[in-house]
Amino acid sequence: MARTISYREALGEALAQEMERDESVIVLGEDNAGGAGSPGEDDAWGGVLGVTKGLYHRFPGRVLDTPISESAFVGAAIGAATSGLRPVAELMFIDFMGVCFDQIFNQAAKFRYMFGGKAKTPVVIRTMYGAGLRAAAQHSQALYPIFTHIPGLKVVVPSSPYEAKGLLIQSIRDDDPVIFCEHKAMYDVTGDVPEDSYTIPFGEAGVVRDGDDVTIVAIGRMVSVAEEAAKQLAESGVEAEIIDPRTTSPLDTETILESVENTGRLVVVDEATPRCNLATDISALVAKEAFGSLRAPIEMVTAPHTPVPFSDALEDLYIPDAQRVANAVKTVVEWKR
């Protein structure tokens, strides 16, 4: 039975259902309960955005607060994953990868290959990305391309409450290390989500909207931006097909290529900064594999090559919006040799 719940609730429900199902699942991170050692409530926060609220009492001993010490607890989650637990660690902001990246990309990502296929590291690192909350340069970045670059990591970027729940359950059950990127402006977004547990497989893109005139590939929160643009475009008779890759590693290249072969036009919408991001990666893929199908140059809609600014006047310019997507679509649709 589906009902309408928020992205936040969908994530919390996924965690609770997996913790119920599998005793080896534990949750750890800064203030994941909140209030450890403090005089007041001992489940004060449930994570900085409340995703893990309530789990502390429901699963005694399995929700662990940590010091603000990302190298130690992200590393501990990785170590515990090699020793039979399925930890879900919360790296509060994706920007904080800077203080614990070694444990992620030199340790977790490498174990299986480096140890000749003998290691299993089923760890999930949930982390918050994206601009829009006036959080400025160190708390707003869309850094999933950096993780996508690293062989050995899987990278998930859910675009809706439905995606969030199914992909998080899949992440927890997956035996490889998963970086699970939640957009900070989406926690209150609501949508239909089944009550029962379900998984969405990795590497299978969702076709969010059908259309024959142009393919829009959008990542994470950009899916909803693309949908808004598609509505406007439909009014002028342009039908866009929107593809949500859901996971940037593995990437469902087949669905993207099939769509471009049909539409002959590609716009990629990526909130990340423009160098070596998903837009360039997917564009290169299509240029190489579907060159003959292209009827126009590929357009990329991304953030500018700058840090994320603080002032709302600037941040609103920074984030790709529906108008920019619509303009890009018009460019490719109207393009003539």
Partner: protein, 331 residues
Amino acid sequence: MTDTLSTAVSHELDGNALLDAYRTMRTIRAFEERLHDEFATGEIPGFVHLYAGEEASATGVCLHLDDRDAIASTHRGHGHCIAKGVDVKAMMAEIYGRRTGSCHGKGGSMHIADLSKGMLGANGIVGGGPPLICGTALAAKQKGTGGVGVAFFGDGASNQGTTLEAMNLASVWQLPAIFVAENNGYAEATSSTWSVAADNIADRAAGFGMPGVIVDGFDFFAVHEAAAEAIQRAREGGGPTLIEVKFTRYFGHFEGDQQTYRAGEVAYARENLDCLKRFRARVTETGQVEAARLDAVDAQVADLIDAAVEEAKAAPKPTAADLETDVYIEY
């Protein structure tokens, strides 16, 4: 009398256990000395960091461990691997980059691991291991196995944030973790007396609310005794301990290091402090083990290392088909 104290004499090893300890130390020494020679022939690829001189540390600690216990190691990891029971021939093959190696030739000297033995890997990143050990210790605690995690790290890693963070977390969570700081005097070419601002690495323990002790790293019995206390304490829920093991490495930071930064301490240590010499002298003069049995171990170990090198050299290298396998379990 408390339980901790009543185990006093049980720390003392019987003849067979002494022979096992000797075999482990001798195997490490022979493995490393042979690698030193083989490296000079140019046949061994990459970077090799040798553990010779430090055998008493890995052996004295790991003799207390079993398969429920995990260790994390360093770039100087061959000794820890051998002491934790990783197959010596597979290790040698790995160092030669062969498909028959511990990691099928994909890891090399700095990444030998065997998770089935609780050997979480040598580690190419200085300070990479301690956070991981918090995790294995957490898993042991959550599952109630009685297992412990041991992070071996060097004087260089003692200055890394990861190590300090891990000690803090281990103490906050009261984890069954043991931090073994192997202070061999140099981080690469830099003296630990310069790079470690605290006077002893062990002194940092106080800052993390755990006991910190210094032991003579050339003395197997000193390490074995301190490790016994720390590991038992951890198994019984007493929390983490920092043990600083002081000694000298016999070779350079890596093979090929001219070691112009050193004085004559290696010759002195080999002559006067060597862990194998001291061990042999003590167990024979007390009559616990006959010299002939130790000689037999020496011969067996020499044969094992000969065979390991011979087999490694003859073994096939990985092929193109292996290049892209084992990145993921499923992708």
